[in-house]
Amino acid sequence: MEPVPVLPSQMSREWAFGSLGGAGVRVAVVDSGIERGHPVVGEVQQAVAVADDGERVIEDDEGDLCGHGTACAGIIRSIAPQCELVSVRVLGAGYTGSGPALLRGLQWAVEEGCDVINMSLSTTKSKFAETLHELADRAYFQRTNIVASAHNMPVESYPWRFSSVISVGSHEEADPLTYYYNPDSPVEFFARGVDVEVAWSGGATIRCTGNSFATPHMSGLCALILGKYPDMTPFQLKSVLHLVSSNVGGGR
């Protein structure tokens, strides 16, 4: 059996997050790309994109086609400054190819064994749900943690609804480390998602609101925990996130 850390009966944020800054943790940002050389983001260790054929995953030097991926990467880095960032660009091939590209990009990140996969996006197409579900379970069993944005509109969408991923909505407070456990499923955690100052393409910094900005806050926290406890299982990680959340035992 692979090693697993033993969790203490009393837990503090200091025990959970420590001061290693997520060193050694590989975080994939499945999004619009990440701008290279952005001062807020710093170094991007690897950048790939799903090719137009929807199959091949190739080296990517396009940067960010929208600004959003850069924003997510900047948030993750601000919380876990030592983590490794992997940009997985699944946008840019037109709308029609976007569903298969999303699946392929996620599949690549899972096969690569990334420790955390930030997915500030979703699909409403039920034909992709089964494949996404299998991927999410596969990730969970191999200790890859998918952190996904919830929808605040009354629609069925994936992968955030799957219990094998960490799903994230927004709260309105300004502290980046304040997050709440939500016992009223399917959204599990609320993190900072309103008026967040983020990196954007063109070297810019702008203020944004949306669940897609709350998600990288949780991804950053996951990176902190996994930096300290690399052998933690997704089940343990979720338990720790719950125990040190601001409304349970985390006190902020």
Binding site: C66, G92, S120, T124, M153, E172, A204, I206, R207
Partner: protein, 217 residues
């Protein structure tokens, strides 16, 4: 399709495009007013061309933008369309590429925007945007919910519009003139009392003449 069915479909479809477009226009007008914004627009996804099309615009650009197109998966609207996630951006004009692209296509560079996907069942039909609402110290999640409600209304209108267009296309392609007959019926139906009576008499007379011809006169 039988002639009767065709006529019935035609009667239902003709003129409905204008009504649905008016409904979309009303959605953007109300969204703009509620948020006190400078402009609001609805983009329809044209799947065949893989492009987003300005379908309704209120405020800045209302006269010039309707019908303009841009690629479906780049920029903020493209991101919202593809990812199904709502987004609020406060100082987007700081992104030089965004400013340039938008200024070229619209002639107006917003400082901030709210964008929400238009979802109907499992389909994403387009994007609703609200541009330059007055700056406040803190954005609230309540505003996001309100935008979501508008988006739902817009998505229903957009779905109806798409259906109407599809049906009109089928009728036009069937090429047997049923669309002309339906259009005539809709026009007469919309007339005031006296005019309507006169119109109906005229049509009855026409009907008689055509029947006589059919009988071999």
């Amino acid at each position: 399709m039988s002639d009767e069915l065709k006529a019935a479909v035609a009667a239902g479809v003709v003129g409905s495009e204008e009504s649905f477009q008016a409904l979309l226009q009303s959605v953007v007008e109300v969204a703009r007013a509620i948020f006190g914004a400078k402009a609001s627009s609805i983009f329809l996804l044209d799947e065949e061309a893989d492009e987003l099309v300005f379908e309704a615009v209120a405020g800045e650009g209302a006269e010039t933008l309707v019908g303009k197109r841009f690629p479906s998966s780049t920029g903020v609207a493209g991101w919202v369309l593809v990812t199904r996630q709502s987004l609020v951006i406060e100082d987007v004009s700081q992104d030089p590429r965004f400013s340039k692209d938008v200024a070229e296509s619209t002639g107006f560079v917003p400082k901030g925007l709210m964008a929400v996907p238009l979802l109907h069942d499992e389909q994403v039909l387009g994007v609703l945007e609200v541009l330059d609402r007055p700056a406040r110290s803190q954005f609230s999640l309540v505003e996001m919910d309100v935008l979501g409600l508008f988006a739902n209304q817009a998505a229903i209108a957009l779905d109806l519009l798409r259906r109407a267009r599809k049906a009109e296309k089928v009728l036009a392609e069937s090429g047997e003139g049923s669309d002309v007959v339906a259009r005539l019926a809709t026009t007469v139906d919309g007339l005031q009392d006296e005019q309507r009576e006169a119109g109906l008499k005229l049509l009855e007379a026409l009907d008689e003449v055509l029947k006589r011809n059919e009988g071999g006169y």
